[in-house]
Symmetry: C2
Subunit: 752 residues, 2 copies
Amino acid sequence: MKQIKRIMGIDPWKITSNQIEKEDRRLQESLTSIGNGYMGMRGNFSETYSGDSHQGTYIAGVWFPDKTRVGWWKNGYPEYFGKAINALNFASVRVFIDNKEVDLAASHVTDFNLSLDMEKGILTYTYVAYGVRVTAERFFSIAQQELAVFAFMFESLDGEIHQIRTASIIDANVRNEDSNYDEKFWTVKNLDNTATGSFIVTETIPNPFGVEQFTVAAKQSFAGDFTRVKQETRESSVLDVYEAKLVENAPLTFIKNVLVVTSRDIEPSNLTKVLSNLTLEISKKTYHEFYKEQEIAWKKRWEIADVQIDGSAEAQQGIRFNLFQLFSTYYGEDERLNIGPKGFTGEKYGGATYWDTEAYAVPLYLALSDEKVAKNLLKYRHNQLPQAQHNARQQGLKGALYPMVTFTGVECHNEWEITFEEIHRNGAMAYAIYNYSNYTGDETYLAHEGLEILIEIARFWADRVHYSKRNDKYMIHGVTGPNEYENNINNNWYTNKLAAWVLTYTAESLAKYPRPDLIEGAETAHWSEIVDKMYYPEDEELGIFVQHDGYLDKDLTPVAQLDPKNLPLNQNWSWDRVLRSPYIKQADVLQGIYFFGNQFSLAEKQRNFDFYEPLTVHESSLSPSIHAILAAELGMEDKAVEMYERTARLDLDNYNNDTEDGLHITSMTGSWLAIVHGFAQLKTWDGKLSFAPFLPSDWTGYTFHINYRGRLLKIEVTENVTVSLLSGEALNLEVYGQSVELTSSYTVKVGG
Amino acid sequence: MKQIKRIMGIDPWKITSNQIEKEDRRLQESLTSIGNGYMGMRGNFSETYSGDSHQGTYIAGVWFPDKTRVGWWKNGYPEYFGKAINALNFASVRVFIDNKEVDLAASHVTDFNLSLDMEKGILTYTYVAYGVRVTAERFFSIAQQELAVFAFMFESLDGEIHQIRTASIIDANVRNEDSNYDEKFWTVKNLDNTATGSFIVTETIPNPFGVEQFTVAAKQSFAGDFTRVKQETRESSVLDVYEAKLVENAPLTFIKNVLVVTSRDIEPSNLTKVLSNLTLEISKKTYHEFYKEQEIAWKKRWEIADVQIDGSAEAQQGIRFNLFQLFSTYYGEDERLNIGPKGFTGEKYGGATYWDTEAYAVPLYLALSDEKVAKNLLKYRHNQLPQAQHNARQQGLKGALYPMVTFTGVECHNEWEITFEEIHRNGAMAYAIYNYSNYTGDETYLAHEGLEILIEIARFWADRVHYSKRNDKYMIHGVTGPNEYENNINNNWYTNKLAAWVLTYTAESLAKYPRPDLIEGAETAHWSEIVDKMYYPEDEELGIFVQHDGYLDKDLTPVAQLDPKNLPLNQNWSWDRVLRSPYIKQADVLQGIYFFGNQFSLAEKQRNFDFYEPLTVHESSLSPSIHAILAAELGMEDKAVEMYERTARLDLDNYNNDTEDGLHITSMTGSWLAIVHGFAQLKTWDGKLSFAPFLPSDWTGYTFHINYRGRLLKIEVTENVTVSLLSGEALNLEVYGQSVELTSSYTVKVGG
């Protein structure tokens, strides 16, 4: 049933290939994307590639509000659809060998090899053309975020002398693949050649929405063994041409350094000056020094974050790939940023920020990075509270509604069935505040910024419910749950559950940290009435929570009984058929059971899992991880491993047949969640850390670290479980339900 | 609660005004639209008008497939949105008096008077500027459909001699107000001046959907007292300039005749030749002759169609306006055409054909025009059966799905919640076949073309239902009923009812007219099972049919309890709020009760009417008529009259505050339905004609005619009801339940 496509070799630390995938070049480009949180790009070749390809370079926080296209406008529709936009293409280095240009789609090229080194954050490829071996190495520097380095080495293989020419280009003539009318989002403001290299300054075109225009400036400078022979400016590109004579046994090096600065950080009028200064600064360091810095920076990240898996090279590669791509997208340096759905690997979906961050990413960053990274993610939402209030008002509702997708906090999705209806997202914002407070034990955020958010979200829910006289219940009609394969449903169990929980949690937090400046008692009394009379669809006979009011009336044929040629449904069925089907895109009731895992018995969890999982097609990249976690808790180890494999290698094996558009960045947390919250059963209910690991039968062991309340812990699972306190004070925790005071290390057999 | 805006004077046969409505010019333009079924235009002035205005000229069957704009494409979405496009502007006659141009928005203009004579189909306006009275008269000829006439008379009022210059223009530089990117849909293919006048040939731009491109050619020629002084061609317009000297007591006449031909009827290469021939032909007739022909043609229409109302000038004007505009749009001459939602009065909504035709227009044309007109409307759908099959396949379903809106039969709406879900439309196609057969007694269409359609529609429904094991019922999930203020609901009573009726009616018709070439018995047996187990939401306690599964869970506050400032909801509420509300845009359950009026008791009708009408906002122009009919049947005469007034004067009083965009053409049948099916209670159940009229208390009488099975009947209602057989054989009918054999005339007191 699973149709996978695996084009890259298996290696614990590398993503490799020995061929240019001409039929699947976009997929190969997605899988070899790199970035440094500040900017990044798809794995496009620097050389000319005349075949099908998706050239994409992206800069964090630089976007464009494209006019929303709908059939017939209705009140409350967002005005624009925010798009991550393809920024100027600065990776280009055309290579000419004896006046013959290398075209990696058309030239006779042999001995090709591609390798993305995830340990160091370096992408390398090498090939032989016209008697010369060319080796290209690139990275986006973590130590110097404005810097991207493109290095080339040339080696004569045939004993001949070769004339090598490189033409390094920065090109502002770029478009988005998903533009409505093939329109350009950029205009060139300035471009020129200077003694140290050429530069371009571009600005996003004006928009009618009062949204910020961005100015982006890029400059290239050079190092190595080549001599400049020409410079040129064209209408929307600049060019520096270098040449060298290549003789046997004397390899030549050519290095193109690109610096990129933007109006997000610097006054537009100062951009070229800052570029000049930075150019001077980086000219003092060698390529080798930058390379070393890159290696060290990634090493530091991996020291905490790495998950070591013994016994499955695929699983090992999968989780490292995910963590690598996630950290390439976001490592918390800039609180104005968030985790875009495609990061720097594509432009589909638009927007920068989904509820994925709060639901799936916050737990990982809490455990794998400094507390301030998760706190930055939370602050991002606090900074956007006024915009969330605006979004609620757009719908005629009180309080605050966090957007489905946004750059600024203003909703910029463009489907009413999502914007208006997938409002459960608002609960995830509150859940992240709970999660942070509960995991770190630090309630200062909750007491201040957190409560300001919670009160406004609670107000939204209190206004969005309606009272059904006939049932003497509060209901929530017209929603879309996490399962986006249904729209406009009534009383989605997950949404109702989350809404009531927000009201309760906010009231409890207010009791602990009173805010008479913000709210009076009558309001929380009304919340309490709503909570008491909230309606939850349940089925007594089946003993399950029902996804929504009409769900059980559907034709409930399990996925396994469908002819596999129907899958994935979203590529084979009309949307009408998808909507009417019982098939679930991602955990919905089960997402609620995961969030509130301490409120349900194992039997309840089992009944719901057994009912819903067979109806789930996992066509959202966010689906398998939650199922892996629950399956692990329920002792369904094979199912847990199956789900782990699907999340861990979703992109590497192109499970959903859409990785060519870019990687599923926000789902990259899934494999980590599956191992740590799933296989190892890390829980923190009521602030108490606990584990109950199992070891997948195909593995011989796995090891990971977590930060927890000022400690660094190491958890090794083989036939034994060993929890070690690497730093910080002694800690009380539970392993297989046994209380342990951890002072240095504790070992127990798997299963307890 | 009703916010009306009445800008035109009350007159039984005329629409009049004595001012240029500078603040509401678009509304005034809509209300003074004219057309002849072949083409038409909004009431734009020929003279320059520099104020806000919506210039619009439209040609029947000429359209453009504009790329569908959606957020994220999903399988089954229609590729394009078909738009009635603004064709070249040929009405323009700039007027200069002593070298000063008349600008009706800016010049000092007095004694303005505007009058649309509905009896004759002539629009006249007159004014005084710069000492000269100008009178303009225009019509779209019914006798010569390619001809539009623009006549001017000039009269010196101040005793001075005036130099009058006219500049007659045909301008191809036109755009649609609702274009996505302000794009032009036309290119000029040819334009020139000839001895008889100038012409332009334009073509619609290419489209990627394989949809026909249209060529439209227009030529102007002239008559009257003026002398040509200049001709010009510009990039996309042509110009003929005429002059004359105006002296006291010697009025001057200037006539611009415009001929329009298209590739719909003529090979593009022959268009200019045909224009020349036609120009020669019309030059043999005088303006007066064309005027006379126009008068006669309209007189003939009115002889059958006119409804005379005594005692209410507003009501009288309303129904004549509606019939006038309806017949200006469609009088059945061309079976390739249908009744567009805006006719020739605007471009909103796109498309040419909605289910409105079958549900609301067929009954009127059956009674007011030759049988072949209604039959042409039916044939239109038969001709498009292959496209309807295509539409069903697009959704992965069997049979045929007639489109929500179309030009060619291929669905070209662009909202999934309508395209995929508002499938009850498919039942209306079948209902029209039933209606035609039952009204005319002619079953030849049913037996041949009709059954071919019915079988395919039945197959659609049989595939679109699903079996719910839990309920042992067939259900229809994911629909939108006639009430478009809800989307994606389950088991809409109206849709389920109509679907089951289609299955039954098709099976019964097959029993009468077997079609072994098309279908086997097993299939109808399965239909019969579906009919037996169809689920209908009902509420025993309330004794009503329930609009859909979750409807009664809503907050059911009646419209009357809403603060009026919320109305109309679609202009004041977010779409989210509208969808979650209980408020009904147009008859939904009640539409079904109207369609199948012989299946329900009066008590059932009363309970449903009393429950649903107070929740209905009538924000569809199709709503009041059905409510008027049912209210009349239930003896709720005040409510029936209230609803009549709303449908009869919907545009004249701008009830829905959107007439500036164009008239609600397909709703124009509503006032006739309200009087004839409502006040007079015309019914034809089981092929038996019956009446049971009441007389609204404010009226002193009303009279109408109907065609019925080869007879022409006249029905007069005063304190008595008189039914007269004007032509045809004797007829059995019922009046107030009494059998009458009508040979010449029958009179009874109102109420029987």
